[in-house]
Symmetry: C2
DNA sequence: ATACTTGCAAATGATTTGCCAGTGT
DNA sequence: ACACTGGCAAATCATTTGCAAGTAT
């Protein structure tokens, strides 16, 4: 897009956007943070802290996990990152981008589907009516058996 | 009910029912198992392994947690017990009774609501139509903010 | 130069496992 | 008696924290 945008509230759409947010908060832009941010931008979905520490290719231990966790927490406080818990596995982190994202996971194949905005509004409304709870499947996704796995799929 | 029942498939409705299931499976009815089973029957909801080990009153360490976990697993294999994961906390175990139960949890006050059978059929149907996933909120409950907590309630 | 950051080790919390002594059948 | 169980300690996994050394500003 060639549209001139006047710095929309908080749109972390590129690595620099996030790094600038760090600077603006008086925090430092360290090598470790660059790596965490770039790794998240290079990912195609939520990543575990271990994956970030090891690098997407799983080869080199680019960072200590402890540092990864500390930085992910810092980035979450800035609103640039969020995380979710899929089944039993470790927490998984994603760039917050322009907003929250809801997920649907398969408890057999582990597939994690990102739900389009609004697609769960009906579900949300029904649950709110019946129980009064306001639900959001952003931090704890809906867990079920996907169509493929349901039919014995492998 | 005073209805004469001809041993309905698997209805674990009393401590002895479960203990008999153990015997029938060639497993032993040990003191530890009696305690686990009785504690679960005495509970008003899903319990953590630690609570079972310590006793509902939290006083005496009646059993070693390791034994509790081992026995809970055994009981789950028998179909007498099942467990769920609420938010970040430890796993929580319940008697399976006559069937599965779905839950709804509040991420603020921690309240765990047992959903009446069928109450989530609409939700289930909608999710299945849209995504093809067959969902069941028995192992991973729906997480949200309950009505009371939503309005600043405390 | 100074405060923020990092790596490494040790601590936590939940759950599992090895091992040998104890016990249900 | 004998195999199944229990307690206790040690191991695992994910995550956090303490601390001294390193670095961004």
């Amino acid at each position: 897009m060639t549209v001139s945008h006047s710095t929309p509230a908080l749109e972390f759409d590129a690595p620099e956007t996030v790094l600038n947010a760090l600077r603006s908060s008086g925090l430092r832009v360290s090598t470790a943070r660059r790596i965490v941010v770039h790794t998240l931008f290079a990912a195609r979905g939520p990543l575990g802290a271990e994956e970030i520490a090891t690098g997407l290719d799983g080869r080199r231990p680019q960072l200590d996990v402890a540092s990864v966790y500390r930085n992910l927490e810092t980035l979450e406080r800035l609103g640039a990152v969020r995380h979710l818990h899929v089944g039993h596995g470790p927490g998984r982190y994603v760039l917050a981008g322009s907003g929250e994202r809801e997920y649907l996971a398969c408890d057999r194949c582990g597939e994690l589907v990102e739900v389009d905005p609004g697609e769960l509004d009906g579900v949300r409304a029904e649950i709110r009516e019946r129980f009064g709870h306001e639900v959001r499947f952003t931090h704890f996704p809906i867990v079920g058996r996907c169509a493929n796995c349901r039919q014995g799929g492998g």
